[in-house]
């Protein structure tokens, strides 16, 4: 997963120590009210300035410095306010959008922009608006914050919702949830910067480009999204139908996996370590699930095999061998996994939007955009981690935020020969 982090004109920086004051967490929604009211007032002014800026940028080919500064400050303030509201940051932010907040935004000076892109900015932003609707609500605006119906259907607000309980209990925001919220904030800020003509760089949904230094996770279940981005238009067009036999097989295998997981639960409760044979079966199931999900949602290109064998698919799931697990977490696994499924619910929305946009992009260009592929891979990886936790394959809790994957060997590309020179060795289904 290549990344051009650090060269984007709008960058989210994080200097947050994860500590949270329980009192301010408890009253966070009410404490943020004045910030939101001020944001509404500021938004009215920003709208007028944005219209002027649009005309000026169309004529001059770049945004005038004074207007750019005003709008950049507005976007920065909105990011601070929403970071505070959604528990991505601890301290109460200032009202002027000055730099220096723990979750901050760096916006480059105005640069020359393509006039066609400026003229059609609202239309061009439609795909990004679809994504932001899932990542942060409609542009991380006040409406989504105050509307509870929309609220919990976004990645940002779900991170805040779960983080609220955790921060109240432990006085700290979990790193994964904070990074997840930052991912949503970053995308929202990029979209606003794009809409307000602060940059003509299209918002990037790549989680690896969204925030500053990412943690390198040494998780026992990790996804490696390799392979090229080329997509066959024919298989993209029929992707849902082509995945049908896999979905049927996955369902049948899922029934077997549930049975195996129940045995695994008893065995791990007694021995503290999952039996190797069951672990291997469940790992194969998880790998197959990852292959099928990646194929269905266009994260991977080739039609996957039916066995979930390791090293057979470019979007590969690596599952470490059975490790000793805490018996208490095994006993209460069904309860403990519930928050992860909350995250998974919004992540699934994200995956659907990614697939929808990727479907159009792949049909038109024959390639899956890197950003969309990586956003989808984040979800597929989380899905695998969650199920691995649920099925007692590991007791490492799923990490909800983006993380640098541990380096793994490259995918060995072994396509079937077009014409077999001699009788080939039998390959399993």
């Amino acid at each position: 997963m290549a990344s051009d982090r650090g060269v984007r004109p709008v960058r989210l920086t994080i200097a947050d120590d994860l500590r949270r004051n329980r009192a301010t967490v408890f009253f966070r929604f009410l404490l943020a009210l004045p910030l939101m009211v001020w944001l509404v007032v500021w938004a009215v002014g920003a709208f007028v300035v944005a219209v002027v800026n649009w005309g000026a940028t169309l004529v001059l080919g770049r945004s005038p410095s004074s207007l750019h500064r005003f709008l950049a400050r507005f976007v920065r303030y909105a990011t601070h306010a929403f970071a505070y509201l959604n528990l991505a940051a601890g301290p109460f932010p200032g009202f002027l959008g000055r730099p220096g907040y723990p979750i901050d935004l760096e916006i480059d000076q105005p640069e020359r922009q393509n006039r066609w892109s400026v003229a059609c900015r609202l239309v061009l932003a439609v795909p990004a608006m679809l994504l932001v609707a899932v990542l942060a609500g409609y542009g991380a605006n006040i409406y989504s914050a105050l509307n509870s119906r929309v609220g919990l259907s976004t990645v940002l607000s779900m991170a805040a919702f779960l983080g609220w309980f955790s921060a109240l209990a432990r006085g700290r925001m979990p790193r994964g949830l904070r990074d997840l919220a930052a991912y949503g904030l970053s995308y929202g800020a990029q979209l606003w910067a794009y809409l307000l003509l602060l940059t003509d760089r299209y918002p990037s949904s790549d989680p690896l480009k969204a925030i500053g230094p990412l943690p390198v996770r040494n998780a026992p279940v990790r996804l490696e999204a390799g392979g090229d981005l080329r997509r066959s238009r024919l298989t993209v067009f029929f992707r849902v139908l082509l995945a049908l036999p896999h979905l049927v097989w996955l369902t049948l295998w899922g029934i077997l996996a549930v049975g195996a997981a129940i045995i695994n639960w008893f065995a791990t409760l007694i021995r503290a370590t999952p039996p190797r044979a069951i672990h291997r079966l469940l790992a194969a199931y998880l790998r197959y699930q990852a292959h099928v999900t990646a194929y269905l949602f266009l994260i991977g290109n080739p039609f996957p095999g039916f066995t979930g064998s390791e090293g057979t698919y470019p979007v590969e799931l690596h599952v470490d061998g059975p490790q000793r697990q805490n018996r208490w977490t095994v006993l209460f696994r069904l309860v403990l996994v519930v928050p992860a499924f909350f995250i998974l619910a919004v992540y699934n929305l994200l995956l659907t939007v990614v697939a929808l946009l990727g479907w159009f992009a792949s049909l038109i260009t024959g390639r899956m955009p890197t950003d969309l592929r990586n956003a989808g891979a984040l979800v597929v990886g989380y899905l695998a981690q969650t199920y691995a936790y649920l099925l007692i394959v590991t007791d490492t809790y799923p990490n909800s935020g983006p993380a640098e994957p541990r380096p793994a060997p490259a995918f060995p590309r072994q396509p079937l020969p077009i014409r077999a020179p001699a009788a080939p060795p039998p390959v399993p289904v």
């Binding site: 849902v240 139908l241 039609f303 996957p304 066995t307 077009i418 289904v429």
Partner: protein, 424 residues
């Protein structure tokens, strides 16, 4: 003398061509004889309805304007259908030549890759057929036979393709899996397995029809039960399928066998346009199909054509390494579809014979030839089907006797059983 005969046989063998001396030749000859016997038995198992009836003047029954209108309507659809078949074959020929290149889109083993190629083959065929399907919808809408929207048709058609994909995957799983084990003789085992799947599908098909609900009209249920007893049946499921959102054309079907035996009436048949006696005639017809075990015979006919078809596929895919290799799948699809097109007129003839027998049997159960006549006339008018199409049209497309033939059949029955006929 015996020694002389033996010597003579040996001489014949020595001078005969190579293929004549192979045991395979004799096996195939035995197979062909067995096939012919089974086909004859299956054909003869359907009771014969009188094929010749009184000559009727279509104009007197339907009016000249309807005849013109239905002829225009049908001819367009027939020409469009023929064009569609040509395009289908061209697409499949191209796919057979180049389809194997799509193997690079697979990371699966040979069976998975074969499934992908099979699905994509049908996908390409679907793409090529979409324009023809849309034109047909346009034509049907223009004549008021259908009011299905174009987008709705596209969605329904696409979803239906999913069912085809699943079926082809199952068929290829059996085929490629067995070909990997049995090599050249895979089809001998694969054909019975696939026939078994077809049998299972026929049994389950009534449960796969969506948008159905039980028939609730008490008089019609009573009529159906009475006809059932007449036919020696019991416990037949009576369902109504909701289709009025898409079409105004009436229809009905008999599906399943044994405990899954079902008669499905389209709700367009129950919207008040048809009298009770006419619906009774429909029920009698469909129950006759079930009494004659026509769904099972359909599987029998499919088996008769599938077994040699599979053998031919095994032969023609050898150039691609045989059916054990996924690259043979596009060729197999071409052969299968081409065979299907070639055998369609034969299967149409079988179908026409079964339909005529069901008509005759229904008349014996209802004793209402006048209602049957009126039903056939009304069916033709509401479906805008040509009452007396050309023999070529019947040969290529006719799955049922023509409306005029079916009306003539009622007069024949009347004459033979009631001793009077009032042919007009």
């Amino acid at each position: 003398m015996a020694a002389g005969a033996t010597a003579g046989m040996a001489e014949v063998r020595a001078t005969a061509p190579g293929w004549f001396r192979r045991p395979t030749t004799y096996l195939l000859l035995c197979g062909a004889a067995l096939w012919a016997w089974a086909a004859h038995a299956l054909w003869a198992s359907t009771e014969t309805a009188p094929v010749s009836g009184p000559h009727l003047d279509a104009g007197r029954y339907f009016g000249d304007s309807f005849l013109d209108r239905s002829a225009t309507y049908s001819h367009f659809l027939e020409i469009e259908s023929l064009l569609g078949m040509v395009v289908l074959l061209v697409v499949l020929v191209l796919y057979a030549r180049h389809g194997h290149r799509l193997m690079r889109e697979s990371a699966a083993g040979r069976i998975g890759t074969g499934m992908l190629l099979g699905m994509l083959g049908f996908g390409v065929v679907w793409l090529a057929s979409v324009p023809f399907g849309l034109v047909a919808v346009w034509w049907q809408r223009r004549y008021g036979v259908s009011h299905q929207g174009y987008v709705q048709w596209l969605i329904d058609s696409f979803v239906g393709l999913g069912g085809t994909f699943l079926f082809i995957c199952l068929a290829l799983l059996v085929t490629i899996g067995l070909a990997g084990v049995l090599r050249r003789w895979w089809w001998v085992v694969a054909a019975p397995v696939l026939v078994g799947i077809a049998l299972l599908y026929t049994f389950a098909s009534p449960y796969l029809i969506t948008s159905t609900s039980p028939l609730r009209t008490p008089q019609l249920v009573a009529d159906a039960r009475a006809l059932e007893r007449e036919k020696g049946l019991s416990g037949t499921r009576l369902e109504v399928e909701e289709v009025h959102r898409f079409t105004t054309a009436p229809n009905a079907e008999a599906a399943g066998f044994g405990p899954s035996r079902t008669v499905v009436l389209w709700d367009t048949l129950l919207d008040g346009r048809f009298r009770r006696a006419e619906v009774r005639a429909v029920l009698g017809h469909e129950l006759s199909h079930l009494a004659h075990n026509d769904p099972l015979k359909g599987v029998g006919w499919a088996a008769l054509f599938l077994i040699p078809a599979w053998g031919l596929i095994a032969l023609l895919t050898r150039g691609r390494g045989g059916m054990a290799r996924p690259e043979a799948v596009p060729v197999a699809l071409l052969v299968l579809v081409a065979l299907q097109l070639v055998t369609t007129p034969v299967l149409n003839a079988v179908s026409r014979r079964q339909e005529a027998a069901a008509d005759w049997s229904a008349l014996a159960a209802t004793h209402e030839p006048a209602a049957a006549r009126s039903l056939q006339r009304r069916l033709a008018i509401t479906s805008l089907s040509e009452p007396d199409p050309s023999p070529l049209s019947s040969f290529l497309f006719g799955t049922h006797p023509t409306a005029l033939e079916r009306i003539a059949l009622t007069y024949t029955w009347e004459e033979r059983n009631l001793g009077s006929s009032h042919v007009r």
